[in-house]
């Protein structure tokens, strides 16, 4: 089987990943991330003042977020190639990835709905804003489960030349560990664990970015090796 589809998936991920990085940089709510301590009026004013940029960046998130799905499905496919006892972990990874992407799509819609009529009752704008930030920040379970499955699969891969190098196992566990504390973003109003804090926001986003970049290179090598093996 030619690896064309896998290369296209990586290409899609690289292109749309770059577009999403731009959207991330222009979203006014991320630099600095909006504080959970703002009053309802402050939140509503923020949406009113920055409506255009919020809509632009979130529409981009909306369009491009799910374009990364093929990238994760390449990981699923490569997990199925591993000489693990069974292929169960690949299905687990697939199932968790679906839920994770759904949540991203919902969070993004909440921001867009809040920006749609910033003049509505500030209490309601703040409600939508709370939903957006909490759904964006807190549910880290999907990616944590994905990375645990990936780590175990890599660890159990009995091929003489493993599909993914063995260090991917501790690496993905480390990434998972970096994301776990973000679940507190749904509770805390201040400090590093708040949704705008160093741990819940910056550490989580950077960990995700590093994971994406590293897995990109790992996948490139795995696809090349697969092509060489089957040639």
């Amino acid at each position: 089987m030619k690896p064309t589809a896998q290369w296209i998936s990586l290409g899609l991920a690289a292109f749309f990943g770059a577009v999403m990085l731009v959207a991330f940089l222009i979203f006014p709510g991320f630099f600095p991330p909006m504080s959970p301590n703002w009053s309802a009026q402050h939140v509503a004013d923020f949406y009113a003042h920055h409506a255009t940029l919020i809509r632009t960046s979130m529409v981009i998130f909306n369009l491009c977020g799910l374009m990364l799905v093929p990238f994760f499905m390449v990981i699923v496919y490569q997990m199925k190639r591993m000489a693990t006892p069974t292929q169960v972990l690949a299905y687990c990874y697939l199932s968790a990835a679906v839920s994770g992407f759904t949540l991203f799509a919902i969070a993004d819609l909440m921001w867009l709905i809040a920006a749609f009529r910033p003049m509505r009752d500030p209490q309601l704008v703040m409600l939508l804003n709370d939903f957006a930030w909490i759904i964006f920040t807190a549910p880290v379970g999907a990616i944590v489960a994905q990375n645990i499955c990936l780590a175990i699969a890599v660890r159990l891969d009995a091929r003489p030349v493993p599909v993914f190098p063995k260090w991917v196992a501790p690496f993905s566990l480390l990434i998972a560990a970096a994301m776990v504390p973000a679940c507190c973003g749904a509770i805390v109003h201040n400090g590093p664990l708040a949704w705008n804090g160093l741990v819940s926001f910056w550490l989580r986003i950077i960990a995700y970015g590093v994971y994406f970049a590293v897995m990109f290179v790992v996948l490139m090598k795995a696809i090349r090796r697969e092509a060489a093996e089957t040639a």
Binding site: S95, S99, Q123, M126, I134, V140
Partner: protein, 248 residues
């Protein structure tokens, strides 16, 4: 047509199969549901559900009284919910061992990957948002309360579809991965999902979201089902022999 796996050969002298990944998945089950019980019963007071027959002020008071445990419980859920993905994959794998084409295995993953969001996480988000600022307008807090409990008890279709297709798959299967009676236990849950439909109408009585029929009877049946399922999955993993061909 010929993709169905051959029936399991029952020879005793095969070496013990390597099942480390399957055992990992199985152990997620007791841990996941222990956390699930701890979170939903003890910490967040979603099970058994508080009454739908409350004024806005009483609902706000509920969040003032239980805000801290709700937040602790659902913050833990945000991480633990990942386990549901692992369980979906695990059950789907066992369903692929059946002599049935894997359409129902894929259906299982799909229905529950969808179901986790309205059926479980929407409730968590609404309670988290309500507890995040319990001083919001009481009308809004009361709406979040309804969103949480109606989505939690009233997400009928995702789970009914999953119970139905799991049961059909078990009845059709000739590899005896699960015993046939368990198919009927699965069908019981379809019926309880139907009887949870009136929760969208009633604010008290047996068909309200905390009612004797819509909540309690359904929950009792679900707990019976779940305990059987955990034990049967353990047996399914134990009984798998080395060299068994599982359809791709």
């Amino acid at each position: 047509m010929s993709v169905a796996a051959p029936p399991i050969a029952a020879s005793e002298d095969m070496p013990e199969a390597d099942k480390r990944d399957l055992w990992f998945c199985w152990w997620v089950l007791p841990f996941f549901y222990s956390f699930f019980g701890l979170i939903f019963v003890l910490l967040t007071h979603v099970m058994p559900p508080p009454s739908p027959h409350k004024t806005d002020e009483q609902i706000t008071a509920f969040f003032h009284a239980h805000g801290t445990t709700i937040q602790i419980g659902f913050a833990i859920l945000m991480v633990v919910i990942g386990g549901s993905g692992i369980l979906n994959g695990f059950v789907a794998y066992e369903m692929k061992r059946m002599s049935v084409t894997p359409v129902f295995a894929y259906t299982y993953i799909a229905t529950l990957a969808v179901g986790a969001i309205p059926g479980c996480l929407m409730c968590a988000f609404s309670f988290l948002v309500a507890s995040f600022r319990p001083d919001r307008d009481p009308h809004i807090v009361a709406m979040l309360y309804d969103v949480a409990l109606l989505t939690f008890v009233g997400s009928l279709g995702c789970f009914a579809a999953q119970y139905l297709t799991l049961g059909i798959a078990i009845l059709l299967d000739k590899n005896e991965i699960f015993p046939k009676w368990f198919a009927y236990v699965s069908f019981w849950n379809v019926i309880t999902e139907l009887l949870a439909a009136p929760v969208f109408v009633f604010k008290k009585g047996p068909f309200s979201w905390n009612g004797a029929i819509s909540f309690w009877e359904g929950t009792v049946i679900f707990v019976i089902y779940l305990n059987c399922f955990i034990l049967l999955l353990r047996k399914a993993v134990q009984d798998q022999r080395a060299g068994e061909v599982v359809q791709d």
